[in-house]
């Protein structure tokens, strides 16, 4: 069974409420943005019930005819299902948003509102740590990859989906070797090369991070020009050209 963990007090209350009513014939719905863990939470408590999406109207109708207790996800898409089929059923549902307040009000005894990830600071830290470990295990041979959470450009726009994506990208970048970078560049260039100034454009992809990383590491333009083996004025010109803060 799926194990759902959250340190948010609101979600702890939702878990408590669902557990209290698990054995009762009451319908509950969790409403909240996409990718905040609604489905996982419900699976962790009602894992033995059949689960069907309201998007799949025919499958839903069939499930409603054969089961008195079920999980309906994407409840915002329920419009195409006759409401009479939902009567006298124990329905545990999730919805990304509310389309028909009256139907929700009429069917569900318990209406929970699950907060977005950006409003669950305790969970952001926990999930970041979890995804880092997961990404390291999958993407990196070495779990000691030098990780600095402050360096990760954490994106919470799409809750866990974008958080996971930003962490995986970070770990992937950290774990790439020379050959991986070459393959990535090859794939990128193969996809995008065209026009009449491609040599310059694609050289910039290499040149800009080269100078930025060099400056970050050596701090001095004089020292960096020596390391790169180019004239100091040439380096200065390229810094201006790429609008790099130096």
């Amino acid at each position: 069974m799926y194990n759902f963990i959250s340190n948010s007090s609101t979600i702890q209350d939702i878990i408590k409420g669902l557990n209290l009513t698990k054995g009762l014939f009451v319908s509950s719905i969790i409403i909240g943005e996409a990718h905040i863990g609604k489905k996982g939470l419900i699976s962790s408590i009602f894992g033995d019930l059949p689960m069907v999406s309201a998007k799949d109207t025919e499958i839903l109708k069939d499930t409603l005819q054969h089961h008195n207790e079920l999980i309906i996800t994407d409840f915002e898409h329920i419009q195409n299902t006759p409401i009479t089929l939902l009567e006298d059923k124990k329905i545990i549902a999730t919805a990304n948003y509310i389309t028909n307040q009256n139907i929700i009000d009429d069917i569900f005894a318990f209406i929970y509102h699950m907060p977005s990830l950006k409003d669950r600071k305790e969970d952001i830290l926990y999930l970041t740590d979890l995804y880092i470990k997961e990404a390291q295990k999958i993407l990196s041979d070495n779990n000691d990859t030098d990780i600095n959470i402050d360096d990760i450009d954490i994106d919470l726009q799409q809750n866990t989906k974008s958080l996971k994506s930003s962490i995986y990208k970070y770990i992937l970048n950290k774990s790439m070797n020379k050959e991986d970078i070459k393959k990535s560049l090859y794939n990128y260039i193969y996809k995008h090369i065209d026009g009449n100034n491609a040599y310059k454009e694609f050289l910039d992809i290499y040149e800009e991070p080269l100078i930025k990383a060099g400056l970050a590491r050596y701090h001095s333009q004089l020292k960096l020009s020596s390391i790169l083996g180019i004239n100091r004025n040439t380096l200065r010109k390229k810094i201006l050209e790429h609008k790099i803060d130096a």
Binding site: D13, G17, T21
Partner: protein, 232 residues
């Protein structure tokens, strides 16, 4: 004739009867009056007795409308034969007899404390309002439409979403019954009180309560549900 014990008739009379002394202290009250005093103070009733007393020794019956929670009276009789004591008797207003069909298929033996706790948890997940709960864990399981009753509780709790403080009590009403389809049922009372006035003008709550065979009392700062203890 003087061998007849009239007190036993008055004791078991459905109409509340109270005998006060001239200081307003109760010298005698019947069973029905005992229940009434759970809803109104003896001082208030004594003042009513004085206000509607006959001008001289004797008895006077007055038609008036008195309402205390689910007690509703259409008349009172006040009488005194000496300066030391005065009595008051209340006449129940007739109730419209409701014929309710109980659909047993939807009624499930339920621990009401469990449903109450789940609803309190839901409320706490949405609102940061201090709640206090005084409950009786020994209330036996009784039959209830769990989903409908929970919907009612959710809507009742929502009325208190702007309250500064909410107190909840759940108790067994000793000696009180409700009659549904000619059967007597004990009553469990659930009260939700706010520290200030609440907006209790929600019609769908009354409809839901009726569907659950529950008497709903809407007060200025409280809502009281009288729930029949259906066990068969």
């Amino acid at each position: 004739m003087h061998d007849i014990n009239f007190q036993s008739f008055i004791d078991s009379d459905n109409s509340p009867f109270i005998l006060f002394d001239n200081q307003g202290k109760i010298r005698y009250l019947n069973n029905s009056a005992e229940i009434l005093l759970g809803y109104v103070s003896k001082t208030e009733l004594y003042n009513i007795a004085l206000q509607y007393a006959p001008q001289s020794f004797g008895v006077k019956t007055t038609t008036l409308s008195l309402n205390y929670d689910n007690f509703s009276f259409y008349a009172i009789t006040v009488g005194y034969e000496c300066e030391e004591q005065i009595y008051i008797r209340f006449y129940h207003a007739p109730r419209v007899k409701q014929s309710i069909k109980i659909d047993n298929t939807k009624l499930i033996l339920t621990d009401i404390n469990l449903l109450l706790e789940a609803n309190i948890t839901l409320f706490k997940s949405k609102y940061n309002i201090p709640l206090s709960l005084l409950t009786d864990p020994d209330i036996p399981k009784f039959k209830i439409d769990q989903n409908r009753f929970s919907k009612l509780l959710r809507k009742v709790f929502e009325i208190f979403k702007d309250a500064k403080e909410v107190s909840i009590y759940l108790k067994f009403l000793v000696g009180e019954h409700i009659i549904i389809n000619n059967k007597r049922y004990h009553i469990v009372q659930l009260g939700i009180k706010a520290s200030e006035r609440i907006d209790n003008t929600h019609s769908d709550i009354s409809a839901l309560a009726k569907e659950c065979f529950i008497s709903l009392l809407l007060k200025e700062n409280a809502i009281v549900l009288e729930i029949p203890l259906l066990i068969d």
